[in-house]
Symmetry: C2
Subunit: 208 residues, 2 copies
DNA sequence: CATGACATACCCATTATTGGGTATTTTATT
DNA sequence: AATAAAATACCCAATAATGGGTATGTCATG
């Protein structure tokens, strides 16, 4: 019997998956959580074999939750369940230790296949996930992003609508430094001007 | 027998609802669509009584689709099914003619209640929808937003990361005009500076 | 038809941001 | 320890945006 837990903030979807799993007799849904915090408690109480993990969740996001859980219970298998197929999202979940990645656009039956595949030691990624996104061979961080740490940090703040001076204040650095990072990013990414950088930041942000 | 159609880009959720409706014998799911265009075709072929309508969908968003459908088939009843409980989203759907509004965070059983209530001529709004959001008494536009038409248009573009000069080009107006509208919005809304205006635009945007 | 709200467009001085540099210090990686 | 990469911070001239005006034509409503 495969013990499964679901972490997903949309209760309607949880209920749908519940209806699906109810009729499978090798799979038992041992609990559900609507946010990351609930999930951590659920896991330590019920020790599921498999966790279906949404990325965007209140309180603790799916990536952080995955890291936490796997550091305590390394045998747990996490399957990401997300609406985003962006490279960053896939990569970060895989780096965090996820063994599979499902998309909400795909048919629900895929959940069954994924649970069984992952439980038997394999991985399972939705067909529309480009294989090159899954670089990190389950655990070790491999691919370095084009952007540096500070640059990514600033990009995130840009995506939140912060101005250069606000960012400088938040990071306790000079305005000129933030400007420098902006300019470097614009060059690195082949963009032209703040408009494109902002749109890039907004796209990349698969808001947790 | 209540004929129901679903428009929702997350197939997994559609499948879940399907599992739920399968066992209700007064309700029959006559078709599903993953985007607004599919939905329009589906409606003209199958003439559902009730449509469960996601707001955020590819090609044609739920608000536009609702308006289109109701102008052709005024007896159709639309129930919004969204992850957003923001005032604007509710208001626009109600103005477009929706008879109910469900949230994806709520239990799936609510879908059954909503379908039956709306089919019998009532309205159905999720408990967490503040009643004051549902001003427009099903059809007539009541509440005037603080912002004018051009201002809302420009705010949307700002939320997409467009710069003032890009917006001027898109709207075929002078840069100074767009600047004027920006300044007026900043004043009207009691904001200070472009950063706050951008964040306001990003918040308001429950991205279709 | 007058009034008010809106959209359009400009003026001005000030500030923010760009795009091009250079330079110094920290932090990895060899 | 040597090198490379990243982060810090500044210079400059040019452009974009702000915050404060004024002005004109349109459109709707009373």
């Amino acid at each position: 019997m495969i013990k499964v837990a679901i972490a997903e903030d949309h209760q309607s979807l949880v209920d749908g998956i519940n209806l699906l799993l109810k009729y499978e007799d090798d799979i038992s849904l041992i609990g559900t959580a609507n946010d990351g915090e609930e999930l951590l408690q659920l896991v330590s109480k019920k020790r599921p074999h498999i966790i279906l993990m949404d990325i965007k969740m209140p309180k603790i996001d799916g990536i952080t939750a995955t890291k936490n859980i796997l550091s305590q219970y390394p045998n747990t298998k996490v399957i990401a369940f997300s609406m985003f197929d962006q490279e960053e999202a896939v990569q970060q979940m895989v780096t965090a230790g996820a063994k599979g990645y499902l998309l909400k656009n795909s048919p629900l039956e895929e959940v069954l296949t994924a649970i069984r595949e992952v439980h038997s030691g394999n991985t399972f990624f939705d067909k529309s996930i480009k294989p090159e996104y899954v670089t990190s061979s389950s655990g070790v961080s491999t691919k370095k992003s084009i952007l540096s740490k500070s640059e990514r940090e600033i990009l995130t703040l840009i995506g939140q609508g912060r101005t250069t001076s606000e960012i400088a204040a938040i990071r306790f650095t000079a305005v000129s430094t933030v400007e420098k990072h902006r300019k470097n990013m614009i060059r690195k990414l082949g963009l032209s001007g703040k408009g494109e950088l902002l749109r890039y930041a907004l796209e990349k942000k698969y808001d947790f």
